[in-house]
Symmetry: C2
Amino acid sequence: MELSKIKSPADIRTMSIDELKELCDQLRKAFLIKISNHGGHVGPNLGLVEATVALHYVFNTPQDKIVYDVSHQTYIHKMLTGRMGAFLDPAKYDEVTGYTNPNESEYDLFTIGHTSTAVSLAGGIAKGRDLLGEKYNVVALVGDGSLSGGEAFEGLDEGATLNSNFIVVVNDNNMSIAENHGGLYDNLAKLRATDGRAEDNYFRTLGYDYIYVGDGNDVEALVEAFRKVKDTNHPVVVHIHTDKGHGYKPAEEHKEAFHYSGPFDLETGKPKSEDNSESYDDIFAQEMLAEMKADPKVCVLTAGTPGVLAFGPERRKEAGRQFIDVGIAEQEAAAMASGIAKAGGRPCFGVVSSFIQRAYDQLSQDISINKTPVVLNIFYGTVLGMTDVTHLGWFDIALISNIPGWVFLAPTNVEEYLSMQRWAMAQTEYPVAIRIPGGEVRHAEGSVQTDWSDLNKFSIERKGSEVAIIGAGTFLPLALQTADLLEKNGIKATVINPRYLSGLDSEMLEKLNNDHRLVITVEDGVLDGGFGEKVAHYYGTSDMKVANYGLTKKFADRYNYQQILTDNRLTAPQIAEDVLKLFK
Amino acid sequence: MELSKIKSPADIRTMSIDELKELCDQLRKAFLIKISNHGGHVGPNLGLVEATVALHYVFNTPQDKIVYDVSHQTYIHKMLTGRMGAFLDPAKYDEVTGYTNPNESEYDLFTIGHTSTAVSLAGGIAKGRDLLGEKYNVVALVGDGSLSGGEAFEGLDEGATLNSNFIVVVNDNNMSIAENHGGLYDNLAKLRATDGRAEDNYFRTLGYDYIYVGDGNDVEALVEAFRKVKDTNHPVVVHIHTDKGHGYKPAEEHKEAFHYSGPFDLETGKPKSEDNSESYDDIFAQEMLAEMKADPKVCVLTAGTPGVLAFGPERRKEAGRQFIDVGIAEQEAAAMASGIAKAGGRPCFGVVSSFIQRAYDQLSQDISINKTPVVLNIFYGTVLGMTDVTHLGWFDIALISNIPGWVFLAPTNVEEYLSMQRWAMAQTEYPVAIRIPGGEVRHAEGSVQTDWSDLNKFSIERKGSEVAIIGAGTFLPLALQTADLLEKNGIKATVINPRYLSGLDSEMLEKLNNDHRLVITVEDGVLDGGFGEKVAHYYGTSDMKVANYGLTKKFADRYNYQQILTDNRLTAPQIAEDVLKLFK
């Protein structure tokens, strides 16, 4: 069957097993052509071709509901559910997002980008179905490292108590983004080694019925297994052993590199372009490797994303036991870091802005209330970072700066970052978070201070009068550009680098009252709960005017950098225009 | 031995087993005298008398480290570690907090009030110990329902990979605060029924060595078990089956009521005073029971704290399957609610302010991005609520109001609350959070609107000029009192009930510019990231002056209501004084 003729899963349900096998080959080939030209999640989808086909073959979607965990594994699902064009026609490549999306299709239940959520969400659907007295199958497809997340455990634990149809398919490819971590994965290994018959079985201990499929890339075996559990009246786990990157040699051999890839040469697997420009992840990794070598008490933690920290396999080996990957488990990384600091170690947890949301309570209870000197490095905390709605780096300022006790630093260039990081790792007074700037990597022009213990001291980058522009982190250059424009209009503005996001320099702000009438704040995040509002609050009862620039509180998906900056008046000409209007 | 002579655990380590038994009796009696007069956590501590004695007898504390989960079970620990006076001498009763506290003793590693954190924290200590090349035992004591929390799973999963000394004592008393929930607890039941020999063993599946103690209130058996695992070179679980409330009949028979109790008559177990005054938990429970009866799609979720929602055993029975207790697992409750809403159910998750912090990511990703109409009721979100540093209800405004998509309502009296709750449950457009007010329960004077779909419309309670006071939620009465005082000084202030915390009524704020010079905001939470800062931001470039009242961003512990209000100038005379000063 021509792929383009597949409009919905109904079109494959009449096929024979041999036709399904042929279909899987076709899907895999078409997927590889798009992905090698366009980039995206490679290995997770290659491993799931057969399972996706078998699920839609056996279950009566969309009446039956499938919830995909960390839904970057749903490209094949999209191909089968009315979106084939976005995979076959280069002009339509960008018509689909990289995750499930209810706006695209009724086959997509949720927009899911963070891991470990599917079992809870699907359990809720099953519970809702039962309350409404309806009948359909509810399937959660998890895997790809999601099981280490606490929400996945909570979902499994509660889901086990449903006295009704509930099917959890565990896609076990023996790795997360990088290696799997945690005792649970040894249990999965035992189950694989014994064809599912090992004495201790994680899923059975939680109360699930259990079926094992040794070759999760055998569509016939999968169809058989799914038929067995279809219309079950109780919770059951189908544990399928798949091969990440299956059917494409370079991805089978280099599983970590092919978890996600930019465009690559299909024949060799080599990236079409290599980015060798200076980057903060690399600067972080070099710095922390040096610190770890100099001091055995120093360690780096990641929650399943070592690549974000530029700790590839070689550097992980070099760091040895001082590099700790807890798997996708941000709560554990944060709390464990607190314990390490309590015992006298010096932990640095490097984490993506969007994922630190998963450890709010740990930042507050396990760390701040206990004053443990944990160091946090926030990656991609910028509008100039990831643009998927589930991965926005806009909220960490409001999240961290409003928890008492944290020192939250916003470096603006490499030297400032390194100075702050070294100070943070050396001191033992405070938990310190450092927000790695977005945009172009910049360097300091002069020397940078080394001691940051005199908290909340802002720095005047350029002294003027009438207008002061406070440009935090990423947006200090924007503040400087705005000042340049204003200067052309006869206003010599003061430009301030606040450096601290967790408190105000009231002494400096007070002095501005003498010869300034307007303070502008520019921050790389959502205005609500952010830095600028604190400045507005500070000047509330004075004559000083305050204008805050940042992002409006709403979600965006796959946005264009320039567009979103313009929409939020986060460009120098727009801010300068506003200032001139206010001064008329 | 006289209890008063026990200054540290060293004083008990020379005792014989018979002397230990006698000691346990003495400790239990002394504990009961204090707790019946003073109130506190009863059952959890009674169940742990023998285990606590055995731990300090066998392990060389404080060199060996014990981390207690949800540390309200550490009263006996405090008695043995230099704080006996606070249990024997009524004048000293309040010298200790209800939780472990490093400021009190070197035997207390962390301040811990939220559950499910100890394994992660202890795992971190073990990891830090190994990095530093030191040698000592690290023990995590968990239980009392903590195992259902995702952080506990993450901690167990990662802790299993420590190739060194790591001991997890699981205090299994067959219940959480109320019943235990989740498939895991069936596994514990099987282990209890088989003297630890059941085929599937949750802890073994995660990679732990395992020892079972059938009578966790037999100090001799406990000493023997702890001696076996002392100085172990690998992770091991000691599963002890204790009896919540052990040794005090009323607490053994009424385990849920005696989890925590105010002062009670030691002979009968009857509370010394009963509070029959009107309360929001009861109003909530009555309302939701009625809604559930009228509509099978409606359900109420709790994460292990049905008592907070006034859903005692009888009401839970009445609600049947429409009342869902997921155990202590806030992530699951939030995400499951999203799934239920997606399937057409109408879920209301009732949760304590301090605990909703554990589900930030779920409020954002699982609910808001997916626009599922989940209803959240926030209990104890007030400075006039719980005063322990680990349970402060001050942060939920900054947490929820800054997540896009949530409608966050702040009722000021019973009728307004009920109207908002009914609207929230009936509509399906938004996720809606409702912040139940603190302080005295009040009633509406006039009629209350029933439709809240015209978002962010503030209400003018009293029309004046010059000064407008916006009093949110709990603090509307404070705004009115302030206006009364101002009126005596010749200023007739406008008083506004904002009703919405998640957005501003820009139309009304704009109009205030006509005949007002000053806007005051008063909110029941921390200023940073809160409601008032948004108003200050709004007026930043206008001539309007803004003064924000709320709590300063810092932690407090066991504070006095009046004191903290005065310290933050949250009293009518203070605010009126400030206004008059500004108007001089």
